[in-house]
Symmetry: C2
């Protein structure tokens, strides 16, 4: 059984200070809550930690009750999602391509001033446009983006296995993680095949526990 | 427990005709061997079928010995790989982009006349070049491709979990599956994050068995 260094550090902090929130653990490690999420998910699923809403994490001791099946079926989108990269619908295609390289992502989301989802731009959309005859500095992204309601999305509490199926069924590499409100669909994250691949790898880590 | 229709059909064929090879099963279903590979892997891992090299598949009955952990750690690249899409090093960048859309893949492999691996072209490489000032009809792909020995690759008998780690560590979406020979590195397949995502989903199917 082998935990990685960060998981060891988390376990030590919770043993000494639990119950303690994810934000507080992150603060002590000088990391963001988002960075810790997969580790906290693994430690919780493997029975080292227990988590209670609005209370925090506490040490549970190793219970050996985990099956990989439980782990797989219980993974949530929120444990593996990334930060969204959002642009406005009037950005030019040229600037969007530069922004994609700068942020090193494969998909940009387009939102209005309220952060409500308007469209999605994939690397494929941008490549298709870039070999056309039009001046990329004159085409705004809203001309070429995939629009609502044709956008596949998920919520942070969806099961990862269901979100993965949606990526495969829709033949897309990435989709926004959203919060559906009365006013519109708020973008709060990004779920990609890279995230799913990392989850696949983390299942093997659970096996090693 | 629920098998999908194709898995049911395979099981029926093997019950009546086993031992029978994968090629023969594929022929009876009017499908390619490659298409059947994930189903055969799942049926074998879940104990419905046994497979013997140079003999074929035969019906084993459900043994209930499978754990998801065994399944995860035993998945091989060959069970999930796709067909490679190969171009020559003198193809222009413009033609390569068209070829990529035509074949609907995210990565092209560049090979010499002997099918030996020379380079890799990602959608990202092509997008970067397409916003430059050069005429895409005048740049051959060998100018912009990633070259040997800087190419990450795997073999068909590698464990899928190791190949998935390589995709994440090298920050790539796809890599060639190769056969290392005395003359050079032969391209025989393509392993992508899409393949890994499908493997992740197939683990949940095993759970349902």
């Amino acid at each position: 059984m082998e935990l990685n260094k960060r998981q060891d550090a988390i376990l030590q902090i919770v043993k000494e200070n639990g119950p303690i929130t994810g934000e507080q653990i992150a603060e002590r490690l000088n990391l963001t809550r988002a960075t810790l999420r997969p580790d906290l998910a693994i430690l919780t699923m493997s029975g080292f930690l227990d988590a209670r809403p609005r209370v925090g994490y506490f040490y549970a001791g190793k219970k050996n009750t985990l099956t990989l099946t439980d782990a797989l079926m219980n993974l949530k989108v929120k444990d593996f999602q990334s930060m969204p990269v959002i642009v406005s619908e009037n950005m030019t295609v040229y600037d969007a391509i530069c922004h994609m390289f700068l942020e090193d992502v494969g998909t940009l989301f387009v939102a209005d001033q309220n952060n409500y989802l308007q469209g999605v731009l994939s690397r494929k959309d941008l490549l298709r446009t870039s070999i056309g005859t039009q001046d990329l500095n004159k085409i705004p992204v809203h001309i070429i983006m995939t629009r609502m309601p044709n956008i596949a999305y998920c919520t942070k509490s969806d099961f990862l296995i269901e979100a993965a199926k949606k990526l495969i069924d829709r033949e897309i590499d990435s989709m926004p993680v959203v919060n559906e409100t009365v006013g519109g669909v708020e973008i709060i994250g990004r779920l990609t095949k890279t995230n799913v691949t990392k989850a696949f790898i983390s299942l093997a880590q659970i096996h090693e526990l």
